[in-house]
């Protein structure tokens, strides 16, 4: 699998290289250290329930898809119904919707924005450009997909995706959050058992 060969590919350095091994399970929270393991396993599911019900997105539009992302927030589609509001500062957001083409000049700011978001955080790559370069796959200045820079949880195809497609992507993310919490709960109880034995 050949990736982008130029020097911008080294922007991916310094990321959690173990994330593949962990299988996208969110990092440990403080509560797991404080609470007894059994409670922690259950509380994790409760937290996942809360997190998936209140996904605050970073208001951050790059290109064409940003217009459809805005449409999704507006009266007709209104994703506030799922508890999703946009927030201007990365410090208070949970989800980064990368809506549009990521060019090399924008690579560093995007990486920094992702780093500024507090854990747990998720990324939705919206549209063909953010997924793999889309119509600009031959361009000299476009990063071939935002997953060269930051880990992506959900890809929403389309050019641009309809607001309904974005909504479906968000629901997939919600499913992912709760199933991840269940996996984590299994993992913790296994660890617990191993410690006892």
């Amino acid at each position: 699998m050949e990736m982008n060969q130029d020097k911008y590919s080294d922007l991916t350095k310094g990321y959690d290289q173990d994330s593949d091994k962990r299988g996208n399970i969110p990092a440990e929270s403080v509560f797991e250290e404080v609470l007894p393991n059994v409670i922690a396993a259950k509380s994790n599911e409760l937290f996942a329930l809360a997190r998936k019900s209140s996904l605050w997105t970073l208001s951050f539009g790059l290109a064409c898809c940003a217009i459809e992302m805005m449409s999704a927030h507006m009266s007709h589609h209104d994703i506030d119904r799922f508890g999703i509001v946009t927030w201007p500062s990365p410090r208070q957001s949970d989800v980064m919707i990368v809506a549009g083409t990521v060019v090399k000049k924008m690579a560093d700011p995007i990486k920094r924005l992702y780093e500024q978001m507090p854990e747990p955080k998720w990324v939705i790559a919206m549209g063909a450009c953010a997924t793999n370069g889309g119509p600009y796959y031959r361009s000299y200045s476009v990063v071939m997909g935002v997953d060269h820079l930051i880990p992506v949880d959900v890809y929403v195809p389309g050019c641009p995706p309809r607001p309904e497609a974005l909504m479906y992507g968000i629901m997939e993310l919600q499913d992912k959050i709760s199933s991840d919490a269940k996996n984590r709960a299994n993992l913790i109880s296994k660890k617990h058992l191993n410690n006892e034995n």
Binding site: C64, I67, S71, T101, M106, P135, R138, V142, C159
Partner: protein
């Protein structure tokens, strides 16, 4: 970046550099503005663009003539049909094609509708910039109506690829006229509603009246076009200075401002929506059934040569410079983007205003970064 850096040893203050963007809620995309502040006043501003430079012009050289339309869709992603029209007109000028009447009527109706939807986006986002959160929802409600009409005709909400070289892709569906009538009636009401919601609001007037008054000479010198140029008081519109298409068949008005401030720019756009509606209504009456595509070869090979075409997009003078070497692909495509030239003037406009005004002025330019950076 300690704040104490900003206070030098003698205790006097120095200016503060503040970085607006690339991610800032009111830069309308990825635009970076480095402001030098003395308290709340802007001393100097330096715009930085290129955060969305996708190399479209270079990519156009590798696609065939009819494929380039898709790339033009994505330039001005708020008024897609207007950019498609500019490109197709350039190729047709090289080919010396005669476009059937009905195709021109369809193009005109859709482009004017797109102008309304673009101005509706401006209306909403401008409301957000001055701090009112409701207008954006009203603006997008109307956009949604127009987009669903586009979807019936072109099959897509945003990236239509409908205006083709030599006409349009296909004739309108049979229920189009009926739906168009309904949308026009709804838009008429909605424009009045939006007007009442924001235009005469006391706080809105205070924020926009007499802010960043641009003189005609400065505006022309910076190459500023479109509603911003008209707000300074110059009677100018590509539809009247270099008429194209069938605009000479309609009786419509050009709104002209007098002070060139932000309120004039805003209200000119509101009036343009009304004028666009009147063009659409006249076009519906005049339109007759007929061909929608000129007789031409499937593979477009314009003769060797070059041409420059100007059209009036919602943001101003959208020009396409097309060089052909007689092959299947264009040799060079250069887009003269209105937002690009309008944005140049921002350094001049921002001198000596408040930080809060910077947001209002940038909003009043109504830039689309896809077009600025290409």
């Amino acid at each position: 970046m300690k704040i104490s850096e900003n206070i030098n040893e003698s205790g006097s203050t120095v200016d503060m550099l503040i970085n607006m963007g690339p991610q800032h809620p009111s830069t309308h995309g990825v635009f970076r503005l480095v402001l030098q502040l003395d308290g709340e006043l802007i001393v100097d501003a330096e715009p930085h663009i290129g955060y969305l430079h996708r190399g479209s012009e270079k990519l156009c050289e590798t696609e065939s003539y009819s494929q380039v339309v898709t790339l033009f869709d994505r330039l001005d992603y708020v008024a897609n049909l207007n950019s498609e029209l500019a490109y197709c007109m350039a190729v047709e000028k090289l080919l010396e094609l005669q476009i059937p009447d009905r195709a021109w009527y369809i193009r005109t109706i859709l482009c004017e509708l797109n102008r309304i939807s673009s101005h509706m986006l401006f209306y909403g986002v401008y409301g957000l910039d001055v701090g009112a959160m409701t207008p954006v929802l009203y603006g997008f409600r109307e956009r949604e109506r127009i987009q669903s009409l586009f979807e019936q005709v072109t099959g897509a909400r945003m990236m239509h690829n409908y205006i083709r070289i030599g006409g349009v892709k296909e004739d309108t569906p049979p229920e189009f006229n009926e739906n168009l009538h309904a949308v026009v009636l709804e838009l008429e009401k909605a424009i009045e509603e939006c007007d009442e919601l924001l235009t005469q609001n006391e706080a809105f007037l205070a924020r926009t009246k007499n802010i960043s008054c641009l003189t005609i000479e400065d505006a022309i010198d910076f190459g500023v076009t479109g509603p911003i140029l008209r707000s300074t008081g110059l009677v100018e519109d590509v539809r009247i200075s270099e008429p194209y298409g069938i605009y000479d068949r309609f009786d419509f008005g050009i709104p002209i401002g007098s002070t060139g401030d932000c309120w004039d720019r805003y209200y000119i756009r509101m009036q343009e929506m009304r004028e666009s509606l009147s063009i659409i209504k006249q076009a519906i009456k005049q339109m007759e059934p007929g061909e929608v595509q000129a007789k031409m070869r499937r593979i477009v090979r314009p003769p060797k040569g070059e041409c420059f075409v100007r059209t009036e997009s919602p943001r101003g003078d959208l020009g396409v410079f097309l060089v052909s070497d007689g092959s299947q692909n264009p040799y060079r495509v250069k887009v003269r983007a209105p937002s690009f030239a309008n944005l140049q003037a921002i350094k001049h406009m921002l001198e000596g205003v408040y930080v809060a005004d910077a947001v209002v002025i940038l909003g009043s330019l109504d830039i689309v970064l896809g077009e600025v950076d290409r």
